[in-house]
């Protein structure tokens, strides 16, 4: 590299250099504007039309949203999301935090144990769903195993029980994601100042109390991030339902993502499918906006 270019500021080379960054970014900017925001807008528009198998642009106002709210299956899917999401987030957090705290006690073979807790996260939800569908098989899965092992009265037929099938989704999802929460909290715990713990110990506080009162409260940001990610996974959950229950029995284990897919692509209800997609976006925004707001506020306070 010669250093001549520095002195000839207006050379064509320099002009090109000024434009290069913009040129490089331009395709991505186009993709983001069209493929993200343009498409969302397009779906939003479709949700106000009476499109069925093909898009038509006859506007029917809020009729598709009204139909959606009249649709029993949509309510089942929404209620399932509340139950599934609530339990999935709650149990994953408890399990993840507990394992992280225990693993943080100078455990031998920590690396191996961590690897085991986290491997489900590398698998596709389809693989997870397939495995758990087999494990929860009434008559052949855990149901039989525990009876073979001597627990005579054991019954586990949740997979075909419309009232309990959603718990099957929770079990599989927790298995998949709780190790990830463990990893996040373990990383957080490693960043906690050890002298605080030692000081509390000298004061005579017990370890559980120190964790509960001092250490975990200092990990609030990790906690919020975890809730955010888990909620995001829950709202987008589609593959797990597809593999494990396909929404059944009947539509008792439907989730909004599954509802959107089957109405849009199998039943030719494009307008209503779009409306359900927009409501899913609304749900994401409802958790994202407060999260970002609090993130930005804490950053400003720093």
């Amino acid at each position: 590299m010669s250093s001549v270019a520095v002195f000839s500021k207006a050379s064509p080379f320099d002009a090109l250099q000024r434009w290069l960054p913009k040129l490089v970014l331009a395709p991505s900017m186009f993709i983001v504007l069209v493929g993200f925001y343009g498409y969302i807008l397009w779906t939003f528009v479709l949700s106000f039309t009476n499109s069925t198998f093909l898009p038509t642009y006859k506007f029917v106002g809020l009729a598709q949203y009204a139909r959606l709210f009249d649709n029993d299956r949509w309510w089942v899917a929404s209620k399932n999301l509340a139950v599934f999401g609530g339990m999935f987030i709650g149990i994953s957090l408890v399990v993840g935090v507990l394992l992280a705290v225990f693993l943080d006690q100078r455990i031998r073979r920590e690396g191996f144990i961590r690897t085991v807790y986290l491997y489900p996260m590398a698998l596709s939800m389809i693989v997870t769903g397939t495995a758990w569908k087999w494990l929860l098989n009434p008559g052949m899965g855990l149901d039989k195993l525990l009876r073979d092992w001597g627990w005579e009265g054991f019954r586990l037929d949740w997979l075909i029980d419309p009232d309990r099938v959603v718990y099957c989704l929770v079990i599989a999802a927790v298995w998949q994601a709780s190790g990830f929460i463990m990893a996040m909290f373990l990383a957080g715990l490693r960043g906690v100042d050890q002298s605080i713990i030692r000081a509390a110990q000298i004061d005579g506080a017990s370890m559980p109390k120190i964790y509960w009162k001092v250490v975990l409260p200092s990990l609030r940001p990790v906690f919020f991030s975890s809730v955010m990610i888990l909620a995001h996974i829950a709202i987008k959950s589609f593959d797990l339902v597809a593999a494990m229950t396909a929404g059944g029995p009947g539509y008792s284990s439907d989730l909004p993502a599954m509802f959107m897919y089957s109405f849009t692509f199998s039943r030719g209800q494009m307008g209503m499918g779009s409306a359900s997609a927009i409501l899913m976006l609304g749900a994401i925004l409802a958790i994202l906006v407060p999260y970002l707001y609090s993130e930005l506020r804490t950053k400003r306070n720093d």
Binding site: F36, A122, I126, V127, W134, D239, G273
Partner: protein
């Protein structure tokens, strides 16, 4: 636990901690063990035994049948994943480079707009994306899926590189610019050689995401162009014929092995990608 004798409260609480941790290890391993055991059993064996009974006769027939069914789709997944991972990572690296070292008016705003893509529920773009693929003549092709994965992977790949590059001191790039080095020269000579860790993180993240994708696969492909996840789901959820659980489990293992392998070999980068993508995204 003799080496821990220095601590006063060894006994009961430490035993309890180890018991919980080891118990959890067993529980987390059960599905994998069950999948493996079942995949090596004969159908009769599956009927008479239980999930954790040892196969009376170890047979690979399940694996042979599963491979015969899914091998074409496995190949599709490779044809989709490899180009999509490489292209999206390359674009992400360049984007991140611009967004951290060549900022211009509006580039920050663009980054903000892009970030939202990490949270975008893809249901809101499926229909327009399928219309577009149809118009481009890419409907139901693996090329179409490569395109889709590149587009919707950009948010994360750019985020990875941008966050990595902002921590590189400005002075390094400024000095090179004063020496007359141009945009691409700086990228190739200075930035790229120090990017190995983040390239690994990004490649592994994208590989896992794209290999494991089901939603795009099921919407944008059909028949011969389907990825392995869709084929596995079709295999497992067909209601015709006798259920062959050994074949199902072998197929699930085949679908899961590539990402499991990557996780075991490069777990460090996998975890870093998860937490980086998660905490910042």
């Amino acid at each position: 636990m003799t080496s821990l004798a220095a601590k006063p409260s060894i006994s009961l609480s430490r035993i309890a901690i180890y018991a919980v941790l080891i118990g959890a290890v067993l529980i987390y391993l059960v599905p994998l063990v069950v999948m493996l055991l079942t995949s090596f059993k004969s159908p009769e064996d599956i009927g008479t035994g239980n999930l954790l009974s040892w196969p009376t006769e170890v047979t690979a027939i399940g694996w042979v049948k599963a491979w015969a069914t899914v091998k074409g789709y496995f190949l599709n997944s490779i044809l989709i994943t490899v180009p999509a991972v490489l292209i999206s990572t390359a674009i992400g690296a360049l984007n991140g480079y611009v967004l951290s070292m060549w900022r211009f008016r509006g580039s920050q705003m663009f980054f903000g707009l892009l970030l939202f893509g990490c949270f975008l529920p893809f249901q809101t773009v499926l229909l327009p994306a399928s219309f577009t693929l149809g118009k481009m003549g890419l409907a139901s092709t693996t090329t179409g899926l490569v395109f889709i994965h590149v587009v919707y992977g950009l948010a994360f790949t750019t985020l990875f590189f941008r966050n990595y590059y902002v921590s590189i001191p400005d002075a390094l790039v400024k000095a090179a610019r004063l020496d007359g080095a141009g945009f691409f020269t700086i990228f190739r000579r200075i930035i790229l050689p120090m990017s190995t860790p983040i390239i690994m993180v990004c490649l592994i993240w994208q590989f896992t995401q794209i290999w494991n994708d089901f939603l795009f696969g099921v919407v944008f492909s059909s028949g011969d162009s389907q990825p392995i996840t869709v084929a596995l789901n079709n295999l497992v959820n067909t209601s015709t014929g006798v259920k062959e659980y050994n074949v199902d489990m072998a197929a699930a293992m085949i679908a899961g092995l590539p990402t499991l392998l990557v996780y075991v070999v490069a777990g460090k980068y996998f975890v870093r990608g998860l937490t980086a993508g998660a905490v910042k995204g």
